[in-house]
């Protein structure tokens, strides 16, 4: 991947989710990640796009999802932003807790954190921005939270 930024402005539709995943697959492949890492990155992007379209913008046709891919140093940095009310981080459940194991939702952020090296979530009244970072040549799969 060359050192430049590509960005997209997308509608709040299911097609956006699929499109974001396809684009992430292509760019992660071009950046030199192996197939397993490409799948993890693409799934993290898909889950973030699902959050933006469903929970952030709530399918509102007047609201957009922005998606950007950047190579910053040795990192692939992916930013997804919605125009919703802002995610309430205190309401994200622990899907591994015994009482939540059989819940049918609430695993998206957990999977994102599992698959990326760093995840930064910045909610505001203008929407939520989530930044997904993968080290191109560094250790992978740490899933640590950088900041919120």
């Amino acid at each position: 991947m060359t050192n430049h930024r590509v960005s997209y402005t997308l509608d709040s539709t299911l097609e956006t989710v699929d499109s974001a995943e396809r684009t992430a697959t292509r760019i992660a492949s071009e950046a030199g990640f192996d197939d397993d890492e490409v799948m993890r990155i693409a799934m993290a992007v898909r889950e973030a796009a699902v959050n933006a379209v469903l929970h952030g913008n709530a399918y509102d046709p007047g609201k957009k999802v922005s998606l950007a891919f950047e190579r910053i140093g040795e990192d692939l940095v992916i930013t997804i932003r919605d125009q919703g009310k802002g995610m309430d981080l205190s309401k994200i459940p622990d899907p591994l807790a015994a009482e939540n194991l059989l819940k049918t939702s609430g695993r998206g952020i957990f999977l994102i954190r599992s698959f990326m090296d760093e995840v930064q979530i910045h909610p505001s009244q203008a929407g939520t921005e989530i930044k997904l970072i993968k080290h191109v040549h560094g250790p992978s799969g740490g899933g640590k939270e950088a900041s919120q």
Binding site: V17, R46, V50, L54, L96, L101, L102, T104, S105, R107
Partner: protein
């Protein structure tokens, strides 16, 4: 590739052969509808063959959980068969591998219902 489901009966067990992707939207809806249809016919012993399912997202995982609890709540049982490595890994990291009864041999899986 969208999801496809076909069903067959073996010794009183309904085997649902699934292929494609179980994801938000069509894939999850197809699975939900297929399980509901089986339950409406009184077919409550369900073996979900995921051998040709190459991708599941969090919505798909949620739909698997929903199918599992729905069948259990109606007095039946739903088990998983032939997980691909990707699906196996997903169920491991979400701690659902121990919730589901996961099989890798169809004949033994069918017998386990009886």
């Amino acid at each position: 590739m969208s999801m496809k489901v076909s069903s067959r009966q073996v010794d009183g067990v309904t085997i649902m052969d699934c292929s494609g992707r179980i994801t938000l939207g069509e894939g999850s809806v197809i699975l939900k509808d297929a399980v509901r249809e089986l339950l409406s016919k009184g077919q409550k012993k369900i073996l979900l063959n995921l051998g040709d399912v190459n991708y599941i997202d969090s919505s798909g995982i949620g739909e698997l959980v929903s199918a599992f609890t729905t069948v259990r709540n109606q007095g039946g049982d739903l088990k998983l068969l032939n997980l691909t490595k990707k699906v196996h890994d997903l169920l491991q990291i979400t701690k659902l591998y121990t919730v589901f009864d996961v099989k890798d041999d169809e004949a033994a899986a069918v017998k386990s219902f009886n």
